[in-house]
Structure formats: C-alpha cells, structure tokens
C-alpha cells in the first residue's frame, strides 16, 4: 500500500484519569473513507480534537504526508489541509449562510489588515471569486437560495449540510466529519451521505464518525471499531460488523 496520507501513531490522552485514547494508531489512505465507530466515550471525538489541534496528546504522533503535525495550533492545522465538522454543529449562526462559507476559505488576502486599506483591488477580486465558488458549492448542496439568510434560520439538517459545505470550501485534503447525519431526516441523510461518497473522486479523504451503522456501512471503504480509547477491530465494513467483539460490544 502507498504511503498513508494521515498517520496517527500510538496516541494517548486521558481526562481526569479516564483514558480517552490509549495507544491508538491508525492510517488514512488517499481517497479513502474511513469510518470510526464505537460506543460513546470510545475516544472518537478526542481523536478528531487531537488531529485538529484542539487537544494536545500526552503521547504519540500525528503526521500528514510524513510531516509531523502533532500539537500544532488549530488554525495552523486548518491551513495544513485538514478540515472538520463538529458534533455539536458549530456555525456562525448570526451571520449569513454565504458568510459562513466565505469564512471557511483559506488564505484570503482580504483577511489581512494591510489589505483592507491597501491593495484592496486584489482582495476584492479574490473575494468575488470566493463568492462565486461559495454559491456554486451551496448550489451543489441545494441551499443556494438560502445564501442570504442567517445560518440560524436553516433547519437542523440544512445546518449539517452547511457545515459540510464549509469543509468543502476549505479545500482540505482530509475531512474529519463528526456525526454528519445524526438526528436528521432520511432524505437529508441520503443527500449528505451522497455528497460524502463523492468526495474521494474529488481527491479528498474522509474520516467519518457516525453511530448510524447502516449509514456507515453504505459509505465507508474501511471501518475501525473503537472502545475505551483503543482499536478493537479494523477492516472492511462487513468484516468489522461481523466481528464477534463488535457484536458483543453492541449488544452490551
């Protein structure tokens, strides 16, 4: 197998003596959708928080394309080709849908203070291109007509869709999606899963945390089942699902 895009090596992290991650390792290949399943508290979100720099691991290493990226600040990692969504749906609710997407573009000249007053033509042109791109992405998700509305006016499902669109605007190679279809209506779920399945064709790789096993089975190329901060089972979706250890954990 070729060199992995994202490598996580023996990460450990505990909160108040409870091991959220215990010597956890995994690999994400290029253009792969990796599903992360497991009971609550298995350490899935902690893994995301470490990879995106919001939590510092006690031990272990995260590397992307063989660059060590362990412990970098979140905004640096976000500019390193990693984008994420949050389980608790973070959007700038008071700003418009379009602004949320525009905020998600990286390296904007208009976000530098000097360019606000000088070289404003360059920033304006860049902003215009970003606007067109944002509208195109919103249209792809079917919410272009909501572009001017405050994000808080969207339905819950549309907000989940919007956070996925924000991830796309980031032009990241690695997308970490934390429960992108939890608690939303079936049609919206299908739409979001469809968008996720299209990602590898666009050169993006995904790690997907999801409790909905059916959704995971239809979407992922490979699954990792975690419990108590370690990997219990890994492999093709069907294999993992039929693994006695996994069945046992789900029955418990």
């Amino acid at each position: 197998m070729s060199e992995a895009l994202l490598k996580v090596d023996s990460l450990s992290k505990s909160f108040n003596g409870v091991h959220a991650l215990a010597d956890f390792s995994c690999r994400l290949q290029r253009s792969e959708i990796l599903g992360l399943i497991g009971p609550n508290g298995a350490g899935k979100t902690t893994l995301f928080n470490i990879v995106t720099g919001f939590v510092t691991p006690e031990r272990g290493k995260v590397s992307m394309k063989s660059n060590n990226i362990t412990g970098l600040a979140p905004h640096r990692l976000a500019n390193h080709g990693i984008a994420r969504t949050f389980q608790d749906l973070r959007l700038i609710r008071q700003l418009s849908v379009l602004d949320n997407v525009l905020l998600s573009f990286r390296d904007q000249p208009g976000e530098k203070l000097g360019n606000v007053f000088f070289r404003s033509k360059k920033s304006r042109e860049h902003e215009k291109r970003n606007c067109q791109e944002a509208i195109r992405l919103l249209a792809g998700a079917g919410i272009a007509e909501k572009a001017g509305d405050p994000a808080e006016n969207l339905s819950y499902g549309q907000q989940k869709l919007l956070s996925l669109v924000c991830c796309l605007a980031a032009k990241a190679e690695v997308l970490l999606l934390d429960e992108p279809v939890a608690g939303i209506a079936p049609e919206m779920k299908e739409k979001i899963l469809g968008m996720i399945r299209d990602l590898p064709a666009k050169g993006k790789s995904v790690i997907l945390i999801e409790h909905d096993l059916d959704a995971v089975m239809q979407t992922c190329d490979r699954l990792v089942f975690m419990d108590a901060g370690s990997e219990v089972s890994e492999g093709a979706p069907q294999e993992v699902r039929n693994d006695p250890k996994v069945i046992e954990a789900y029955i418990d």
Partner: protein, 295 residues
Amino acid sequence: MEYLLHILILIGIYVILSTSLNLIVGYTGLLSIAHAAFYGIGAYIAALMALKLHSPFLVNLICAIILSALFGALVGIPSLRIRDDYFVIATFAFQVITFSVLNNWVSFTGGPMGLPGIPQPVIWGLEISSPIGFLILVGIFCTLTLWVTRRIVQSPFGRVLKAVREDEVFAQAAGKNVAAYKVLVFVIGAGMAAVAGAIYAHYISFIDPTSFTVMESIFIISIVIIGGSGSLWGPVVGAVVLVVLPELLRFIGLPSAVAANLRQIIYGGLLVAFMMWRPQGFLGEYAFQGKETRE
C-alpha cells in the same frame, strides 16, 4: 452658541472613543475596561509634546497614536493569548496603573495638578482657535474614524472579527489565527482612542488625570452598549444621548453637587435597564453579554 458648539465637540470626541471601542467590544466581543487609559495616553503624549517640544499638532497626533497602539500591544499580546476573562482583568489593571502613573509621576505629568496651557493646534499654518474650527477638526476625525471602522468591518477581516465574537472554535477550525486578530483589533482601537485624546488635550488646553479614570472607561462602554454594540451608527447615537442627557439636567435647575451624582446614577440605571430589556442597544445587532465559553 459657544455652549452648543462645546457640546457638539464633546459628542464628536466621544464618537471617536466609542466607535473605536465598538471595534473591540461590539465587533470582536472583547470587553476592554482600558479605553480611558488609551484616551489619556493620547492626551498626555500630545500635550507633553506640544508643551515640551513645541511640535505641531499633526506630529503630536501621530506620535500619540503610535505610542498608544504600542501600549495596546503590550497589554494585548500577553493577555489575549489566554482566556477572555483574563483580558478583562488585564485591561482593568492597565487602566488603574495608567491613572496612577499620570497621577503620581509629578515631574513628568504634573500629577494631580495636570498640564495647563496646552497650545491651540496649528495645521499647515492654520491656527484652530475658534469653537467652529474645533468642531470642523473633530468632525473630520469623526468621519475618518467612522470610515476606517466601516472599511474594517465590511471587509473579510471584519467578517473574521465577527466569527471570533460568535464562535472562536469555529474561527480556529476555519484556519483563522484568533489571538492575532484579537491583538490587532485591540491595537487599532487603542490607536484610535489616542486620536480623541490628542484632540481633547488641544481643545480643552488643560488636562489632569481625573478625565481618564475607570469611570470614564465605563462611560465609554455605556455609550457603546446603549447606542448599540456591533453597529456602525450605534455608538454615534449613544454618544449623542449620553452627552446630551446630563446637560439637560442643568436646565432643571438642580444644584451642581446633586446633578453630578445624579449623572452617575443615570448612567448606571440606563446601563442596567438596557442590559435587561434591550441588550442590543438602540441600533445594535449584537447583544453584548460576554462570550459563551464552550470548551
């Protein structure tokens, strides 16, 4: 007429102060209690330069802006990297320290006696001595302040500020260096407050530390909150209301000792009332309630 012009000039000075504070409080969601300190730094630097170096107004003004902004960086860089609560405390401490220095460094600042005899400004050979002249000067700088603020808040830079205000975690996940934005906006605000200070010093021609106390900081915060934080025109409305309101008390014919205390009570009462019933102020879109800290 003189009196009316005086009120208008004061309104203008407070428009500059509250508009610059609005960038910090209203658009970025950071509560700073040090705005009067930067106002004072601007006033003292301009006054000292005019008195000791006899340098022209515009030079004093530029030096006041730069030094005040440097002080802003000095306070902002260490305190904004941690949590916002520490920032509030740090700005409060800076406010208290600044007042103490102005009040106690007698050989340099004149201490409680202040600095009298600050000359009237001369701009390109034109001496500004009449109230009308000052009103025009203040008007120009008000317009400039509002223009700069508008330019900032309508740019992608301003969009990041609002994102920082609403959800820092989102902003970080979107690749924005949140701490750098906070420091930058705080430094800009500090520099702009110095403009008001320099104009005030040259206008009043006598300054002393009592104009730059914590109470003054709170007064500027009240203007922002009552006018409407996070809106361009909110602080303008706030400045008009809060400067004119106590002046009206004079006409009721209250003894001046009572009127002075009543002013404080009115500010306090208004602030509480607005926070309870209309936290977004007259014109605001953003209700300042401190930030939600989600870890």
